[in-house]
Symmetry: none
Subunit: 211 residues, 4 copies
DNA sequence: CATGAATGAGAATTCATTCAT
DNA sequence: AATGAATGAATTCTCATTCAT
């Protein structure tokens, strides 16, 4: 079994609380506006301390992204596994996202910037940083959903179409409502939004008969 | 006929070429990473020259946003007007977006950041800046689409549901594919993606019969 | 007789109106705060035009100083010549200063900075600039007053003491009231201040008998 | 005994040495000409360090003013208290000023600019800055002297006249000799100048008998 | 380990000066 | 002669990062 020394526990705690602080500050001031000083104050440590646990600012931001995304993905995975049909899975997944962002409003800015990395797209160095992990995770999630869709197509639950494209479409369309709910002052009740999204995704908006 | 003095023409040309440069640099380095020096060099003018045409960095970024978005919206409006049924309009609109971003790849970063403004969400001052115009335009587009949807519902072309929510959903879902195409090295042919998006939006992904 | 061509007249007019503008702007914004743009606008000419008449900013400021001071000194000289006794001359001189600054409130800042030049005291280059002319004029006035005092001492009108030191003292003491009047919102009537100054200078503040 | 932690001592030392550097640089280059870089170099610290102790350039200049003026006023107050008659007090005060400026030649430029603030006289914002403290102190000193004069008038030591006006006159007249001594390469011995000033102020320059 | 004072490279902005028209 | 757009050096201020305590 994994036995961790007291030092390791303390270390992990530090890392986590710094990342939490980073998330809150970034949520408040934006990624560019969040200074190391801000984050250190929010975390209740000295600026220098952050550098004991993170190589530099980029490293902190990246790791903060990853941790939070991993958390979210854990929730989503559990939600996904809970349903039987594709529709059930989708509903549960959307509900999971709603819940996560209800509890972690701060995270939305990190999440939104996940798709569009800050730096130069063509800058080779970036491939080993933000994109390296986060964009990769993003791709992986799309692939996962794509696979699930392909299987649902096999089973006849879902019409046959390009599954990866469809996955992307569904994920982003879903996210749009999540982000909207965060930015709004008051949103419709969650079930209502969940119904709308699943309903449109499954049955479309049209009135004509589908064969 | 358009009567503009030579000075006005030169001025407009300068403004446009600086904005174009800004767009390229922002696309390359991100909004936070784009320095005035970068933009000036890209535009082939001196740093100080930019300040002859834009109050400050924020003003430049904002105006660059606006100009590009206005361009895009012009295209979209024309596309929208070209169709008869809601479906035709939607297809044309998606095609217009594809075309615009095919010609203006740099713009995607500006466009993406439109939804999530930089600074503090709760900061009142932001209301008069980026958000002031761009977020407003974004809202206006959603309202427009919402109205069109409401009318289509009246006509029986579209199922009855919350039209504003649906508008948001459709716009963002559409955008997701647009952005994806930009980030990809090679995408499926445009018509294929247009088909997928319209088809899903209209008929859903499900196989069951809709009434 | 001095015959001036039309060009010379126009030229002098330009020079004068630029200097006037400079005086107003400096009075309003301070020497450091007055930009060439400000002065050009105030003068109703283009920035570049100023450089046709003045070598550079320093030259403009210096010449503006000089012209105004020469004006003031003309007034003072006339006032001085108008009196017979030293006391009469002094009273007339103070009255002249009051009048000049009542009409040219803007000038006070230039005048005040006359004593303490802006740049490095030890900077040799400055000797040929601001100090070159203005400090020189300042010295010359003190010498003049010193000489007048020496003569008054000869005539027994004034006690024997270091005349140059005394001249300095009288000039600055007088100026202090002039500047004060400018900075105040409402001052005592001019004659009152003139009485106070001459009376103190002549008879001192003490109550004991002077021999 | 003064109990200050080591940090406080270091901090005060830093503040003091930066202000000292600022004083020297301003004396050398004038207020407008003194850059943060200059001051940092003179103080032997990095530019950024200054901002750890002063909000911005204005804050540094203002605090430097204040500290030096407070020092000077301390000397003056002690000198003033040391005399019995008004004349003794005045002599001691002048001597104190001479001494202070002999030791702090650099300060004269700050001191001189105290009367004429930099910016727009009518600018309301200035009331909370330079003027805010320093002009206030200047006014306070004049009031103090005015009161002392009023009392001396009561006691019959000084003739009856507008005490505030007189105070202003005496202070500025005195200062004029102080500043002159600084600007001169070689001045008369201090006692000589002190004698001249007190003598003129008390007995005037005239030869006629005062009642 | 933790700290936070110090650093200095780098960013935005201003403005005196030039020069093509 | 007059203009004013363009320039870029110079200035203020910020903030990621280091390192002595």
């Amino acid at each position: 079994m994994a036995t961790r020394s007291k030092e390791e526990v303390v270390q992990e705690f530090r890392i986590q609380s710094i990342q939490d602080a980073a998330m809150r500050v970034i949520a408040h001031k934006g990624i560019a506006g969040a200074t190391m000083q801000d984050i250190a104050e929010e975390a209740g440590v000295a600026k220098g301390t952050i550098y004991l646990y993170f190589r530099d600012r980029d490293d902190l931001v990246e790791k903060t992204f990853e941790t939070a995304i991993t958390q979210l993905h854990g929730l989503i995975d559990r939600a996904w596994a809970s349903g039987n049909t594709f529709e059930q899975k989708l509903r549960a997944t959307i509900a999971a996202k709603f819940e996560f962002f209800r509890e972690n409003r701060e995270f939305f800015r990190l999440y939104a910037s996940l798709r569009i990395p800050e730096g130069d797209i063509r800058d080779e160095r970036r491939d080993r940083r933000h994109r390296g992990h986060c964009q990769e995770q993003y791709r992986a999630r799309i692939d996962l959903m794509g696979q699930a869709l392909a299987e649902a197509m096999e089973r006849g639950e879902v019409r046959r179409m390009n599954p990866k494209r469809l996955a992307l479409f569904i994920i982003e369309a879903t996210n749009s409502v999540v982000i909207e709910r965060i930015m709004e002052n008051e949103s419709p009740p969650e079930p209502e939004d969940i119904d709308l999204v699943t309903s449109v995704i499954f049955d479309g908006i049209g009135t004509r008969i589908t064969t």
